[in-house]
């Protein structure tokens, strides 16, 4: 009797082992049956990713610096941020991390783009129906909290090692903030403004694109910003399953205890993060210029 209370009555070790084995076998079976189909499904994505990475690496560095400067200026309209961004890239180049940085830039850009393309519609869907919100929120919770190594296992089993599984891992981790903030932004739109749109006979579509999305844009942009940050923080883990970039030297530094190498590449990731963050934040702020107060 006492034993029953001290030992949790678990299912037997053998049953458990068999259950795990069954699950593994089933998944392996699934992987054998559909792995190839899935891989070819993601093939266009892989081709795009490779093309973009090659493009970035083949472009002469002065042009990249120019583009970085131009994007920083267009996004922030601030000389400080523009000069800072260009200077950071120059330092990265001087310390011979240019190629890895371009590879990281490629995967982060593609991942962010995919997050926006997939995440914003999901966020809109969530905002339009409470049931959808109740359904999707726990999924997002799981995606944000489950240790990334756990979902790396099935992803690698299905797709092997390479860029696409790496990209998927980044997506899973980075997409929740943009979905959440799109949903939040739309739900926070002033109901009186929506009522006015209704009173003038706006169709649901006119309301969505004319009122809700524009007014949610600052929040959506905060989501894009968060998504970029989270994608960057996945760089090292993604390099474990074969994504090239700044994560690879960091990984090498960990296993060989190369302090300087790890630090330099780590700081390069930080520099990218700060640049992206400042540019996207100041762009987001400029979107809200109309919120200026003060009467004449």
């Amino acid at each position: 009797m006492w034993e029953f209370l001290t030992e949790f009555p678990s299912i037997g070790r053998r049953d458990l082992a068999e259950m795990k084995k069954a699950i593994d076998e089933a998944f392996k079976g699934f992987s054998r049956a559909y792995g190839e189909a899935l891989e070819s499904f993601f093939d266009p994505l892989l081709k795009f990713l490779v093309w973009f990475e090659k493009l970035l690496q083949a472009t002469p560095w002065p042009i990249i610096l120019l583009i970085v400067g131009a994007l920083a200026w267009l996004g922030s309209r601030s000389w400080k941020i523009t000069v800072g961004a260009v200077a950071a890239f120059v330092v990265i180049g001087i310390f011979d991390m240019w190629e890895d940085t371009m590879a990281t830039l490629a995967i982060i850009s593609v991942a962010t783009l995919l997050c926006i393309v997939i995440g914003i519609p999901i966020g809109i869907l969530m905002a339009r129906s409470d049931r959808m919100q109740a359904l999707i929120t726990p999924v997002l919770d799981v995606m944000q909290t489950i240790p990334s190594f756990v979902y790396l296992i099935p992803v690698v089993m299905l797709l092997g090692i390479g860029k696409v599984p790496g990209l998927l891992a980044v997506l899973i981790y980075a997409i929740p903030p943009i979905v959440r903030l799109t949903n939040l932004g739309i739900r926070l739109v002033d109901p009186e403004v929506l009522e006015a749109a209704d009173a003038f006979g706006a169709s649901p579509r006119q309301k969505l694109f004319g009122v809700q999305v524009p007014l949610a844009l600052p929040n959506i942009f905060a989501g894009v910003n968060q998504t970029i940050m989270m994608a960057l923080s996945m760089v090292v883990i993604a390099s474990m399953i074969g994504v090239k970039g700044l994560g690879v030297p960091v990984l090498r530094a960990i296993s060989n205890q190369y302090l300087a190498l790890g630090l330099m590449n780590g700081l390069a990731i930080v520099a990218l993060a700060i640049i992206f963050d400042r540019i996207s934040q100041s762009y987001g702020k400029r979107l809200q210029a109309y919120r200026g107060q003060g009467n004449d």
Binding site: D190, E192, V193, E195, A196, A197, D198, A199, F200, G201, A202, S203, Q206, G210, V211, P214, L215, L217, Y290, R291, G292, Q293, G294, N295, D296
Partner: protein, 343 residues
């Protein structure tokens, strides 16, 4: 009597989980607002309201907060669905309209001005005024042309490219008014449109509205809790209390014959001399006796405040009251006027 532009008939609105179930209590057992809330946990918004709104007039709906006036006005364009009753606009059943017909009604035939302005903060003044036109699907050139006219009309020329957040409350509501007028709808719903403004600015806006109305002759439904505003603007005034209609009539009728103590209480503090017009006092001339031609003539629309001096100086302190078309409505004496002022 002209056909009503908008007809509201036996309208009920009950808020709660099962409004249809508790409706009979209100409709058949005459259960009041407080009792319904207590026994059935439903809120009675509108209670058996019937109102004919004539075209080209300002119909004021007045009541204290919680009297259901804002709920009532939202039934006209069906922003709120009634629990029971009928609403027709130009003889058309609004409640029978499907989503598309309803949208068409809101786009072309009625527009709305809101208490808290409800402007689109991310759009400029020009884009706000043009919102209704954009929803209608007009081309950009046409929108610019029409909005320019209305922005000038409400005195906001020069502010076209500002954002609502940069304007004062009074100016924001001018934008709201211009937005409402720009669609050329012949019904304008105004939900406490001037209530959020300072008294002076409110008076200005009332003047602008009256001036525009003189020219445009829209059918305006104007919600307010301010009696002075109601008396100044309303061609006809309906007074609501706890969702039910207490009295309806023009300013004269309400001031001279208040239906109950609630309304008597309401009108107790107003300046009667500015509301009551001579026409309401006129006693018909005795047939056969020719009117004394030496008596001064005053228009029936003259308010007592303006008439008193003339009356006290007139022979017998009596004046002739002339209708708009020039015929005589009768005579009025100073004594009558003083009695009317005393209430």
């Amino acid at each position: 009597m002209t056909e009503p532009k908008i007809r509201i008939a036996n309208l009920y609105k009950i808020f709660g989980k099962t409004p249809a179930k508790v409706l009979p209590h209100v409709r058949d057992d005459a259960m009041g607002k407080d009792e319904l809330l207590e026994t059935h946990n439903h809120v009675l918004g509108v209670n058996d309201v019937s109102l004919d709104i004539r075209p080209r007039q300002i119909q004021v709906v007045m009541g204290l907060s919680g009297s259901g006036k804002s709920t009532l006005i939202r039934h006209i364009n069906r922003l709120i669905e009634p629990t029971d009753g009928a609403i027709t606009v130009d003889g058309e059943d609004v409640l029978a309209m499907n989503a598309l017909q309803l949208r068409d009604l809101r786009r072309h035939r009625m527009s709305m001005v809101f208490q808290k302005f409800a402007l689109l903060p991310h759009r400029t003044i020009r884009e706000n005024v043009g919102y209704g036109l954009e929803v209608q699907g007009l081309g950009a050139d046409e929108i610019v042309k029409r909005t320019r006219h209305w922005i000038e009309r409400v005195g906001l020329a020069g502010y076209e490219d500002r954002y609502p957040g940069h304007l004062s409350g009074g100016m924001q509501q001018r934008v709201g008014l211009a937005r409402g007028l720009a669609t050329d709808a012949d019904i304008l719903l105004m939900d406490e449109a001037f209530s959020a403004l300072d008294p002076l600015i409110r008076y200005d806006m009332q003047s602008i509205l009256l001036e525009l109305q003189n020219e445009l002759h829209k059918t305006i439904v104007f919600i307010t809790h301010d009696l002075d505003e109601a008396l100044r603007l309303g061609d006809n005034i309906a007074i609501l209390r706890d969702g039910a209609m207490v009295q309806t009539g023009d300013a004269q009728q309400i001031v001279l014959n208040p239906a109950d103590d609630y309304i008597r209480d309401f009108i107790k503090d107003i300046n009667r001399a500015r509301v009551i017009r001579l026409g309401a006092l006129a006693r018909p001339l005795d047939a056969g006796r020719p009117p004394a031609e030496e008596l001064p003539r005053l228009a029936a629309a003259t308010v007592l405040e303006d008439a008193l001096l003339t009356m006290s100086g007139a022979p017998d302190q009596t004046v002739l009251v002339a209708r708009k078309d020039g015929t005589l409505a009768g005579t009025a004496t100073l004594t009558q006027a003083i009695e009317a002022l005393h209430g």
